[in-house]
């Protein structure tokens, strides 16, 4: 019966944090979209949307509350970034710190184009 005991133990463990869940309303599209763009901070590389951890569940409640209080999507992101840092949002955004992140690939693209153009253009002259 050890298995049964373990089963019950796990059910209890999982259920501790579920209190906030009595509301019986499906998640709206906006809620799902927001939760897809947020990292579950206690998981390995999962978004709030993907995860079933307590953190993700409480985050879901937080998102719903904020939407109900009339905050917009970007306002919610800003509040979370203030609280948890940039790590929580999957969109790195545009800032001084991420300038190179966006710029390097584009530079690669321009450089590649220039090389190919020169190669074809030059070879004409030979």
């Amino acid at each position: 019966m050890a298995k049964k005991k373990i089963l019950i133990l796990i059910l209890l463990l999982i259920n501790i944090f579920g209190n906030c869940y009595s509301e019986n309303k499906p998640y709206s599209k906006l809620e799902n979209d927001i939760s897809k763009n947020l990292r579950c901070l206690i998981c390995q590389g999962q978004s709030i949307y993907d995860s079933n951890s307590e953190f993700a569940l409480s985050m879901r409640v937080y998102i719903r509350d904020q939407i109900d209080s009339g905050y917009s999507e970007s306002q919610i992101y800003n509040m979370l970034v203030k609280k948890y840092g940039q790590w929580i949002v999957y969109d790195p955004g545009y800032s001084k710190k991420t300038f190179l992140l966006w710029f390097i690939p584009l530079l690669f693209f321009l450089l590649g184009g220039a090389i190919i153009y020169l190669r074809i253009y030059k070879s004409r002259k030979l």
Binding site: I14, E23, Y49, Q86, P92, L101, S123
Partner: protein
């Protein structure tokens, strides 16, 4: 206990053999004999033989659950089904490295046998460079990740394999992926060998293409299996997450794809020599960097299962040595490969290959920067940022439009120069594409301009590729892979635009609506299996026409190690997947139910298989111009 010692000694003897091969090859370079020394062949075989012995001993220990072996103890359990006992071998760091080594040594042997008609010096140098890699991995295994470490006293029971790895797709995923990864080592060694001996020419290109195709096909297959696994097992209905570990498998794929196109230009026109070499080196570097990033644990990923920093450092040093060697060789011997600067015409296949490479390198840089930038930023400013789907979507999607358009016309170009003549067919293509796009947009009711243009270019690519089959001089293998790619992009696009989902907390007996379907939660039952207990939910989905579909998602609670996983129930039909998962929440009768409608899901897998099928035909094709 004894058997583990045999395994270890066998690997040690393998290292000795590879040292012998290395030194004999070096000695052989000086000799003027026409053929290679027999000793090299003999010791390449023994080296392979010893790794095989090691591999089978570990396999045996896994099968009989010999917990005196630390690797088995850490990753297996006596109640596990036999299939997962076997696949547990590569479900961990030590075992997977042994598999690396097995593929590595078998490939070099295969190369030796296969390259009989190639110049002696080229073969020798390739073997020398390849042996450096083999020796590196032997030392890595023996020093930092010995799969034959023993435990005393012998534990009664093992710790078990992570349950989410206990899945058929993931069980065969590593071997397939590794063949792809490790195949790039031959490409790398062969590129260095060809450089040193001045053999970078069309003959080299022709032989190399086979290796590229093998690696490429297996890598594609490995990525496919990984995605299928993620879709079934991780339980939220996605298949690609721009997760660092996924990116790492995508990077060598991108550069291999570039190389595959580039090397055909070298074969046909004797052009792009240095670029082919650079791509060969880069591809292998990306594979090793991938191993480093995954194994070191610097990445935060859903796929990171075990890691140890000291191993990361070893791979890092090894990587630097390899980069250093390749740089030195590249700069010393670069002038040997001087190509006569032939003219490249604007309307030619050469140009389309260059454009392909241009985009591939851009995509590669996006994925690479997106993956490593957060690591560097963290080290330099200790600030953590996440780079996720929004970044990749913004930088990739706009560039896919010109890429699709170039890809549609590229294969129709001729080598050297294409005489462009206006044909009635162009109007036909345009009109068909236009009509098809309008129908699609109407069907999807899509209003985003960027997406509309994307759909247009993609539909054009699809139609053009299909019609290519009816033109003469079509290379079927290549066209098949291109068709698969177009289908893949179409299915991904439609899938992401028109997937719907509903997430709800309900009790047993309740039901809810999703569009025109009614989902009823009938009952739950609990079952006891050998290595897990499960809670199975019974769901009924009724649509307008009163057809009923039954789906039974599961929550599994594994006993060793104790982990709860959620098993999705998926009903696959030709046009869409119905996907349902359940999770437990507080109120004991309340379940979190996630129901998704995912159109064209099966087509994502089918189209990738079409790509792989194209590659396979190319590998076995007798005709030489299969690209």
């Amino acid at each position: 206990m004894i058997i583990s010692n045999i395994g270890f000694s066998s690997l040690f003897l393998g290292l000795i053999s590879s040292l012998v091969v290395f030194s004999c090859s070096v000695a052989n370079v000086k000799k003027n004999s026409l053929s290679l020394s027999k000793i090299i062949y003999q010791f390449l075989t023994t080296q392979f033989f010893f790794v095989i012995i090691g591999f089978f001993i570990l396999l045996y220990s896994f099968i009989i659950s010999d917990f005196s072996n630390e690797t088995v103890y850490n990753n297996s359990h006596s109640t596990k089904p036999i299939f997962y006992k076997i696949t547990g071998l590569w479900g961990n760091h030590e075992g997977s490295l042994l598999l690396w080594l097995l593929v590595l040594t078998s490939f070099v042997l295969f190369f030796f046998i296969d390259s009989k008609n190639e110049p002696k010096k080229f073969r020798l140098y390739t073997i020398i460079f390849h042996q450096i890699i083999v020796i590196g991995f032997f030392i890595f295994i023996l020093k930092t990740s010995n799969p034959f470490d023993t435990l005393y006293p012998i534990p009664q029971e093992g710790l078990g394999l992570n349950p989410i790895l206990q899945d058929p797709a993931l069980a065969i995923h590593p071997p397939i992926l590794y063949v792809g990864y490790v195949g790039t080592s031959i490409i790398f060694a062969s590129a260095l060998g060809a450089m040193v001996t001045g053999y970078v020419n069309k003959f080299w290109a022709k032989n190399l293409k086979k290796w590229i195709l093998i690696s490429w096909t297996f890598l594609t297959g490995g990525i496919l299996l990984g995605s299928i696994w993620a879709y079934y097992e991780l339980g939220w209905g996605g298949f690609w997450f721009w997760d660092p570990v996924e990116n790492i498998s995508l990077m060598p794929w991108l550069s291999l794809t570039a190389l595959l196109h580039c090397v055909s230009t070298l074969e046909k026109r004797d052009l792009l020599k240095n670029w082919s070499i650079i791509l060969s080196i880069v591809t292998f570097m990306l594979s090793v960097t991938g191993t480093f990033l995954v194994r070191s644990g610097i990445l935060n990923s859903v796929h990171t299962f075990a890691n140890d920093p000291t191993r990361g450092i070893y791979i890092l040093i090894f990587l630097f040595v390899l980069i250093f060697i390749s740089f030195v060789i590249f700069f010393i011997f670069e002038s040997k490969n001087l190509e006569n600067k032939k003219e490249i015409f604007f309307l030619s296949k050469e140009t389309s290959v260059l454009i392909n490479n241009w985009f591939m390198m851009y995509f590669l840089s996006v994925v690479l920067i997106g993956t490593v930038y957060p690591i560097f930023l963290d080290v330099i400013t200790s600030e953590k940022i996440s780079v996720g789907p929004p970044f990749y979507n913004k930088l990739l999607i706009p560039f896919l439009i010109p890429f699709f358009l170039f890809m549609s016309v590229g294969p129709s170009m001729s080598w050297i120069k294409t005489n462009f003549r206006f044909k009635i067919a162009f109007i036909y293509y345009f009109l068909t594409t236009f009509t098809a796009t309008i129908l699609t947009i109407y069907y999807l009711s899509e209003k985003d301009l960027l997406l509309i243009i994307l759909i247009f270019s993609l539909v054009f690519l699809f139609i053009k590729t299909v019609t290519n089959f009816f033109e003469k001089n079509t290379n079927y293998a290549q066209n098949l892979s291109h068709l698969g790619f177009a289908m893949l992009m179409l299915s991904i696009l439609f899938n992401s635009i028109s997937s719907t989902e509903i997430i709800k907390n309900i009790k047993v007996g309740e039901s809810f609506n999703s569009k025109n379907e009614r989902i009823t939660f009938k009952k739950i039952i609990t079952e006891e299996e050998k290595n897990y207990s499960s809670i199975i939910g019974f769901f009924e989905i009724k649509n307008d026409e009163n057809k009923t579909i039954k789906l039974n998602p599961e929550i599994r609670i594994y006993n060793q190690p104790v982990i709860a996983t959620s098993e999705a129930a998926i009903k696959t039909t030709f046009f869409k997947d119905r996907f349902i998962t359940i999770n437990l929440i507080k109120d004991e009768q309340l379940f979190n139910v996630r129901y998704q409608n995912k159109p064209f899901m099966i087509w994502i897998w089918i189209s990738t298989m079409v790509i792989i099928f194209g590659g396979t035909i190319a590998i076995f094709s007798k005709k030489k111009n299969y690209i």
